[in-house]
Amino acid sequence: MGERLAAALPANAWNWIAVWRRNHLAWKKVAFASMLGTLADPMIYLFGLGTGLGLLVGRIEGASYIAFLAAGMVATSAMTASTFETIYAVFGRMRDQGTWEAILHTQLTLGDIVLGELTWAATKAFLAGTTIAIVAAALGYAAWTSVLYVLPVIALTGFAFASLAMLVIALAPSYHYFIFYQTLVITPMLFLSGAVFPVGQLPGVFQQIAAFSPLANSIDLIRPVMLGRLGDNVGLHIGALCMFAVLPFFLSAGLFHRRLMR
């Protein structure tokens, strides 16, 4: 039991960096296309909904609709960036490209690999979320100083969604299963978590469900800061995101061990 645990957990605090650097090197070769792909979606939402719907909606929570939406898009872009990195790129390296197999032949453990992949996905999420925040600040929808405050939340959001997606790929037999995660978890979360309209608009039951979603916790941290207000329950939201980042990580490492080290 002890040795199985040792194989599933990171061996030390720095082994994961080699995996992160591998992914960074691969990303550098396609950085422009990758950034464009990651940012196009939230930008279209931001300006499409923000300007179009914004005319009908008027002001929400004391801010223009586009400013309200910008905060939601910062969190959403972090969510999608780390989710998609994990369910497609990481799954490919784990199952089809033999990348993980090659790494497991070195002195790294499965836990080192999972942590490296997780940190890399969170890095991409951080890049995406931060870019949206900077665009929002540049256009005057948020104060520049507020961007600094939301940076750690963006990173934590990236970790939480990468970790959740890691759990999905540890269980999924093939790519075909990811569509369920996308359509049944990620897309509904977008609408249940206050990204595009306030959670208060939802029926009571949905509001309670929404409180448990990692995206809602992230938005509740980011939006008040970007709109220049003080947020409520900051510790609680941070705690929830940490839980989403940490628990699925350990669970997925255990599941990967069962899947790959038979």
């Binding site: 194989a7 960096i17 033999g98 990348t99 032949h105 002195q107 790294l108 790959l260 038979r262």
Partner: protein, 304 residues
């Protein structure tokens, strides 16, 4: 460090109810080339995975480089280089980048890695390919890069799972030559193969496996002497049944494989006399090989 590189005692592995490795024991000395020879499904790859701690035995003990595996397999892997059955290089990276990335997995600094890269490229005969993308290399070059990659941590032990499967003869001979160079420089090699020629050329000792069980062990020459011990006559082109009845009194044993008869005869001249004057027969007399041993032991032809 003791002079035993690998020790397996009573190792058994089950996948579900299927016995893949069955009470296997063998020892590999330092500096030796040890072969695991067997057809597909004999359990060769599973044994290789167990040596690396990537799958745990259901019974038995494994020691690699003096360390119990899988308990201390991470430490053992620091001293092991692996050539997997299927290349798992990073295709989007260049040759040099593949080595760089892999060296980092062993905790080497960029400077340390860059210092050994020229020697590895020279070893793999890839000096002019350092900046080529791996996806553009030939199969033989990829295999040589995989071999160079396995040497980045200067391992004492190399674990190779079918190192030349899928290569053309030229590429295969180049790999064999490189492996002999490594053996001459003192590395220990354990390799799995289903190529008789590969086992015969490279291995000091080998273990013949069938369905996870050891059916013979020894040096290629000792096995050939022990199980065959005489020249082999291959007869091709006649009706096998008719030929068998004709020459049976003059041979020790006859194997039929496809349309070819393999006769093990103490005195081949007696057999030739019997077949004289028969049209359409092709007769070849040759010294015995490991393949004959395998046929003898399993009664089946191996894949070529």
């Amino acid at each position: 460090m003791s002079n035993v590189a690998i020790d397996l005692t009573g190792v058994t592995k089950l996948f579900g109810n299927k016995l893949v490795v069955d009470g296997l024991s063998f020892t590999v000395a330092s500096g030796e080339c040890f072969g695991l020879l067997g057809p597909n499904g004999a359990g060769k790859s599973t044994i290789a995975r167990m040596l690396l701690g990537m799958t745990r035995p259901d019974a038995g003990d494994i020691t690699v480089l003096g360390l119990p595996v899988p308990a201390r397999s991470r430490l053992a892997r620091k001293g092991i280089g692996v050539v997997p059955q299927f290349d798992n290089l990073d295709l989007e990276f260049t040759v040099r980048e593949n080595l760089l990335v892999f060296g980092r997995y062993f905790g080497m600094s960029t400077r340390e890695i860059n210092a050994v890269i020229p020697r590895l490229l020279e070893f793999a005969r890839l000096e002019s390919k350092g900046d080529s993308r791996v996806g553009l290399l030939s199969g033989g070059m990829k295999r040589r890069l995989t071999l160079a990659r396995a040497l980045i941590n200067d391992p004492q032990l190399l674990v190779m799972d079918e190192p030349t499967t899928g290569l053309d003869p030229h590429a295969r001979h180049l790999i064999w030559e490189r492996l002999r160079f490594l053996l001459a420089s003192g590395k220990t090699i354990i390799l799995t193969t289903h190529f008789m020629e590969e086992a015969e050329r490279l291995c000091d000792r080998l273990c013949v496996l069938e369905r996870g069980r050891k059916i013979a062990e020894g040096s290629p020459h000792a096995l050939i002497d022990e199980y065959i011990g005489c020249n082999v006559i291959e007869i091709f082109g006649g009706n096998p049944q008719e030929l068998i009845s004709l020459i049976k009194p003059y041979v020790q044993r006859i194997e039929v494989s496809g349309e070819t008869l393999f006769c093990y005869a103490p005195d081949p001249e007696d057999v030739r006399i019997q077949l004289r004057g028969r049209a359409g027969l092709r007769i070849l007399e040759r010294p015995p090989s490991l393949e004959d041993v395998f046929l003898r032991l399993t009664g089946r032809e191996m894949e070529k």
